[in-house]
Symmetry: C2
Subunit: 137 residues, 2 copies
């Protein structure tokens, strides 16, 4: 079944370097590079007393890292559209920057476009609302 994108959900435990905005920014940029994504914007915010949120908005969707240094935990989301990208290529980068003792990974197919038709065709048909033209911003 065809999908719009792949969304990798990663749970990183026993991590180091979780309270550094510089490390989170570097990790985001290296993931963008490793996956050959097109960076549109990057934002990294430190929290008080500890913790960092970093978001890379890319043409192919987004990469997000939230850290809880007090737990040794980071929540990472990598959502890529387009067949060329493999979001799993981010895992070595995350290992390099945060040295997690344990990683849990779940992958979701986002935007499953259509089930095969009764005729067995791999259907490419999609619903397009009639009023899309007037909806353009």
């Amino acid at each position: 079944m065809k999908s719009v994108g792949r969304h990798l959900v990663l749970e990183l435990w026993g991590c180091r370097n979780l309270n550094s905005t510089g490390v989170v920014e570097s990790a985001l940029l290296e993931i963008v590079d490793a996956l050959k994504l097109t960076l549109l914007a990057i934002q990294v915010h430190p929290f008080s007393p500890i913790g960092v949120t970093g978001v890379a908005i890319v043409s192919e969707s987004h990469v997000v890292i939230h850290t809880w240094p007090e737990l040794g935990y980071a929540a990472v989301d990598i959502f890529t559209c387009g067949d060329q990208r493999n979001p799993e290529d981010a895992v070595p980068v995350l290992r390099q920057y945060f040295a997690p003792e344990r990683i849990q990974v779940m992958e979701m197919a986002r935007g499953l476009i259509d089930a095969p038709t009764p005729r067995g065709e791999a259907a490419e048909r999609v619903l397009v609302p009639n009023d899309l033209g007037s909806a353009r911003g």
Copy 2:
């Protein structure tokens, strides 16, 4: 089991207004308001020929909307930490702005902190790496 946050993954199909940066921005701001989140930054990017990505970075994590107007599809992620927020409160806002014909929702518990101990205690223990102090950015 205690978790760091709740992550709602929403698939919206048969939507309207998907190509408007203004609508996506308004929807993000109203979700932030409905969930009583603290907005840190908002970014909305139009794509060529069509499509919009909008990201609200909040103290409590993030809200993301990616739209594919040609499919009538929007991928929405709402990740909130803290017990007070109910990410499901975003659903009426999404219905109001995009009038989806169909919504699929999945909820993930992010950062499941600990399983009950063999003694049956609801454990609050967490691993804290020794070198956290030096990891601050």
